[in-house]
Amino acid sequence: MPRYLIITVVIFVNALLLFVLNEANHLLAPLGVSLHGQALAVLFAGLYLRVLHGAILSLLIGLLSSAAGPGDTGSLTLLFLLLWSGAVFMRRRIRREVKFQVRMTALLLQTCAFLYLMLVFSGPWLTLPAFWLRVLADSALSFIFVTAASVAWVEFQIRLLESSGWDIRSERPEDP
C-alpha cells in the first residue's frame, strides 16, 4: 500500500476519534461536563510521523474540529498545530517504547490544550467561580480519558501501519 494512502487512513482514524469524542460530549451535555482529547489526535503524528505528514494530519484534523467551533477557524486549527509541534519537540526527549513517558507526554499536551483554550476563549470569565469549577471538572475527566487511552491509541495506529507493511517502530524520521 502506498504511504500516502496509509497516511490518509491515519488521518481518517484520528478524525473518527474526534467524531467519537463529539458523540460522547453529546451524551455528557445534560451533566454539564465535556471531554477533551485534542492531544490524542496529534500524539502519534508528533511522535512517529515525518514532519510533512504530521503537519498535513494536524492541519486537516484542526480544520475539521474547528469548523464546528466558535469564531474564526484559525484559532482551533492553530491549537492542533501547536500540540503537534509540542509532540515533535518531545520526540527526542522521551523513549517512545516506554508507556509511562508516552502517557505523560499526552497529559502534558492536553494540559497545554486547556491553557490555550483558557487564553484564547475565556475572556472575562476568569473571575467567575463557575468557570473554574467547569474547567476543573472538564480537565479531570479529560485527563483520566487521555491517561487511559493514549498508549492504546498510539499502539493501535502503529499496528495499523504495520498491517499495511510499514514498520514505523524501526524508523527514526528526520534525526538531526
Binding site: 453529546h26 451535555a29 451533566l31 465535556s34 475539521l64 464546528a68 467567575l128 463557575a130 468557570f131
Partner: protein, 287 residues
C-alpha cells in the same frame, strides 16, 4: 557541511508559516474552508442522529400496549386542552387584527414553526451550541429564533445546506431583550456559565427597582418583541432573587433556565412569514 535544523524547528517553522498564511488569507477563502469542512462532516452527524431515532423507536416498540394506550389517552387529553386554547387564541387574534385596522397599526410579525431534531450538543466551558437537522433548504436563516416546549433555546448562529448551528441561551455571548410577565418594561437577559451538574442559568439586568421577587414567589421572565427576533411572551426562565445595582436605579439577578435545556432533543425554528402571507389556520402552531 550543510546546516541541519532540529526537527522541532521544522515543525515550529511550518506552524508559524501556516499561521501567518492563514492570517493573510482573505475572509472569503476562510469562510469557504469552514463551510466545506462543516458540510463534509455534517452527513456523519446526521446519520448518527437517525440511528439514535431508530434506537428510540425500537425501544418504544418494546413497550406494552397498555402503556402505549395510556400514553395515547394522556396525549389526547392534552391535545383537547390545546385545541380549546387555540379556539380562544383565534378570538384574541381576531380582536388584535380589528384593533390594528382601527388604529392603523402595522401587523405583528407572524411565524411558521420548522420542527427539527437535535443532531449534536456541543456544550463545553467555552461555547454552547446545538446542531439541528434542518438547514438552508428548509428556509432557515441566520438570526432566527429557536424554541422548545420549555421556552427559548437560542438563536440560529450558522446555517448550512441541511444543518444549522444554534447558539444556546446559556451561552455567555447570548443576549436578548425580555420583560417580566405582567410588566411591559424591557430588561436585558444574558447567558451565564453554569457549574457542572447544575441547572443552566442566565442573568437579568436593568430590571426596574419596583419589581419584587422571592424564593416563594418567583417571576417568569419572557421574551420581548423589541429585540425583533423573538415574538412576545415566550418563557426565558424564572427569577427568584433580584439585587439592586450600585446606582440603585435598577436591579439585576440570576435567571433559572429550564433544566431540560441541556437535554433537548427537538426544537422549533421560528421562520418569519412575509406580511402578506396568510395567517396560520386552526390546528397549526400559532405565535
Amino acid at each position: 557541511m550543510a546546516l541541519r535544523f532540529p526537527v522541532y524547528y521544522k515543525a515550529l517553522g511550518i506552524t508559524a508559516a501556516l499561521f501567518v498564511g492563514w492570517s493573510v488569507t482573505p475572509v472569503v477563502i476562510k469562510s469557504l474552508t469552514r463551510t466545506t469542512f462543516l458540510e463534509f462532516q455534517a452527513p456523519a452527524y446526521t446519520a448518527l442522529s437517525y440511528l439514535r431515532d431508530l434506537q428510540e423507536y425500537w425501544g418504544l416498540r418494546t413497550r406494552s400496549r397498555d402503556s402505549l394506550i395510556s400514553a395515547g389517552i394522556d396525549l389526547a387529553r392534552l391535545n383537547a386542552a390545546y385545541e380549546l386554547r387555540n379556539q380562544r387564541l383565534d378570538t384574541f387574534e381576531a380582536e388584535v387584527e380589528g384593533l390594528e385596522r382601527l388604529l392603523g397599526l402595522p401587523p405583528l410579525p407572524d411565524y411558521r414553526y420548522e420542527n427539527a431534531r437535535v443532531v449534536r450538543r456541543d456544550l463545553n466551558t467555552w461555547w454552547q451550541t446545538l446542531t439541528i437537522r434542518k438547514g438552508r433548504i428548509h428556509g432557515i436563516e441566520r438570526g432566527q429564533a429557536v424554541i422548545f416546549r420549555g421556552g427559548v433555546v437560542g438563536r440560529i448562529e450558522d446555517v448550512q445546506t441541511y444543518t444549522s448551528t444554534v447558539q444556546l441561551i446559556s451561552n455567555p455571548a447570548f443576549r436578548i431583550a425580555a420583560h417580566f410577565e405582567g410588566d411591559t418594561r424591557p430588561v436585558q437577559f444574558q447567558g451565564v456559565l453554569h457549574a457542572p451538574l447544575s441547572t443552566p442559568r442566565g442573568e437579568v439586568s436593568n430590571a426596574p427597582s419596583d419589581i419584587r421577587v422571592s424564593l416563594t414567589e418567583p417571576r417568569r421572565l419572557v421574551t420581548s418583541r423589541l429585540g425583533g427576533v423573538f415574538p412576545d411572551g415566550i418563557t426565558v426562565g424564572h427569577v427568584f432573587r433580584l439585587e439592586p445595582s450600585p446606582d440603585g436605579l435598577f436591579q439585576s439577578g440570576a435567571v433559572r433556565l429550564s433544566p431540560d435545556l441541556l437535554s433537548v432533543r427537538e426544537v422549533a425554528v421560528l421562520v418569519p412569514l412575509a406580511p402578506e402571507s396568510p395567517r396560520s389556520t386552526a390546528g397549526e402552531p400559532r405565535r
